[in-house]
């Protein structure tokens, strides 16, 4: 597994989720390095359905390690337009590459202004340091 890292071009939710904005209306979501490290090796990603509506601060999926289950919290509201199907066979990508091949969903945003409530990489790192 990689060392702790939090890319500067992402926005972060305090429940350890990230969002990568693609234009004004779309975003890709995933879980942060910290989240996957706390959970341990992911063995199952219970993905939402394409077309499902998700709301900011609510759970939209589950990731499970051998020992534990974790809800995945939506950093922003929207409609699922794509899920990362490759995680069905290789959920370990969430550990190996949490910001790349381990992405979870693509979303059409219904309230793009919610981005204002998210943290920048520096703020998120500071939050983790404070514990």
């Amino acid at each position: 597994m990689s060392d702790a890292h939090y890319p500067d071009d992402l926005l972060y939710h305090d429940q350890h989720d990230w969002a990568r904005l693609e234009g004004d209306e779309h975003a890709v979501f995933g879980i942060t390095w910290y989240a996957q490290d706390s959970l341990g090796e992911v063995v199952f990603y219970d993905a939402p359905e394409v077309g499902a509506t998700i709301s900011k601060d609510s759970s939209y999926a589950e990731v499970e390690s051998v020992k534990a289950v974790s809800d995945v919290i939506a950093p922003m509201s929207g409609e699922i337009v794509e899920v990362n199907d490759s995680l069905e066979d290789s959920p370990e990508k969430i550990n190996e590459d949490p910001y790349g091949e381990g992405w979870l969903v693509k979303v059409k945003l219904t309230q793009p202004e919610e981005r204002g409530a998210l943290l920048g990489a520096d703020e998120y790192r500071k939050m983790l340091e404070k514990g």
Partner: protein, 360 residues
């Protein structure tokens, strides 16, 4: 609780040095994993792994009345243990419920060692003390005298023999040896379904032995892999699959109960065996996606018919597995049920034991 401080095993420093993920477990700070549960699990199935299980308790029972006393408190026929032998038993209360499950080793003519589950150690000790009255026997808490190291896997014996230069006992036997020039016990037992031994050694030399085995290529394994390994072979975990509210018969442990010995709870166990029990513990596999967890309801025909007591992802089978208490008529291998995993009904099939079969 008055004392919140977690206890540490003699190997705590070794775990910290390896960067283990430490968690509270039954009042102890224990390693749950070092490099990853799947890797550690695979090491035990294919090579050799070692577990610090020093949190487990030890009770020595000695005296002319030792056999008669143990026959009274343990469910199995203790008279069958030869000197140097080992035996699995339940410790039952008067109504047959299981207070603990434990291994008994016969170290000498009238000297036995019992290994307890750490969460039950103090209660077991009080129970044994209470029932020892009237028997010519001494019951001693010797938990502080031992560090316990389980070395398990197909290559465990060969590596141990090479590294420590000691003769190892056969399965279900115990040998008194010297390790690091201190007296030690080597037991041909384990909790993984693989061959291997459990070492009971002087706490002072435990770090050196750990380091030696690490150098010899034995993979350090945490409680996470210990749980997945034992569940794949359907070994019970007390507190989950065994409780004081369940008797050995419904738990599928009738084989270690000899009611004719008249042990505490024997009448209740005999009745359960004769009349059958409303529920039975059965292993199952999830068919498809989903990982069952402790407390998940078991469903059949849309109704709850049982409850999962242990559930995990099986690294060997790569699917969700578990054990559940369910209506006895449904607890037959091949039966289809559903597990309610946080609101999602996952199809599952009752299986026979063990869920994972060792190769060769």
């Amino acid at each position: 609780m008055a004392d919140q401080a977690l206890k540490r095993t003699p190997l705590h420093g070794c775990h910290a040095e390896l960067g283990a993920k430490l968690v509270p477990f039954a009042g102890w700070e224990m390693p749950v994993t070092y490099e990853g549960i799947r890797e550690e699990h695979a090491a035990v199935r294919t090579h050799a792994g070692m577990f610090d299980v020093s949190h487990m308790g030890e009770v020595e029972v000695e005296g002319p009345g030792a056999l008669a006393f143990l026959q009274r408190v343990l469910s199995n026929d203790v008279a069958k243990i030869e000197i140097g032998g080992a035996q699995y038993s339940c410790l039952c209360h008067e109504e047959g419920g299981v207070l603990d499950d434990l291994f008994t080793y016969r170290l000498g003519g009238d000297r036995y060692l019992i290994v307890t589950n750490s969460a039950n150690h103090d209660a077991d000790l009080a129970w044994l003390g209470r029932w020892s009255r009237g028997f010519d026997v001494a019951v001693r808490d010797v938990a502080d005298r031992y560090a316990m190291l389980a070395v398990q896997g197909p290559h465990a014996r060969a590596i141990l023999t090479g590294a420590l230069g000691i003769a190892l006992p056969a399965r279900m036997r115990v040998a008194t040896v010297r390790i690091g020039n201190r007296p030690a016990l080597v037991c041909g037992t384990g909790y993984t379904g693989e061959d291997g031994v459990e070492l009971l050694i002087d706490p002072e030399i435990a770090p050196a032995i750990w380091a030696e085995l690490l150098d010899a290529g034995v993979v350090p394994c945490g409680l996470g892999a210990r749980d997945t390994l034992r569940l794949e072979v359907c070994f019970h975990l007390h507190g989950n699959d065994l409780t004081p509210e369940r008797n050995p018969i419904e738990a599928g442990l009738g084989w270690c109960c000899a009611e004719a010995t008249g042990f505490v709870g024997a009448d209740a166990v005999a009745r359960a065996r004769r009349e059958g029990t409303a529920e039975k513990l059965a292993p199952f596999k999830i068919e498809g996606a989903g990982i069952p967890r402790e407390g998940n309801p078991v469903l059949a025909g849309g109704e709850q018919v049982g409850i999962v007591t242990s559930g995990t992802f099986s690294p060997s089978l790569e699917l969700g597995i578990g054990m559940a208490y369910l209506r006895a008529d449904l607890a037959e291998p091949g039966n289809e049920v559903e597990i309610d995993v946080r609101g999602k009904h996952r199809p599952a099939r009752i299986a026979s034991k063990p869920l994972y079969q060792r190769k060769g």
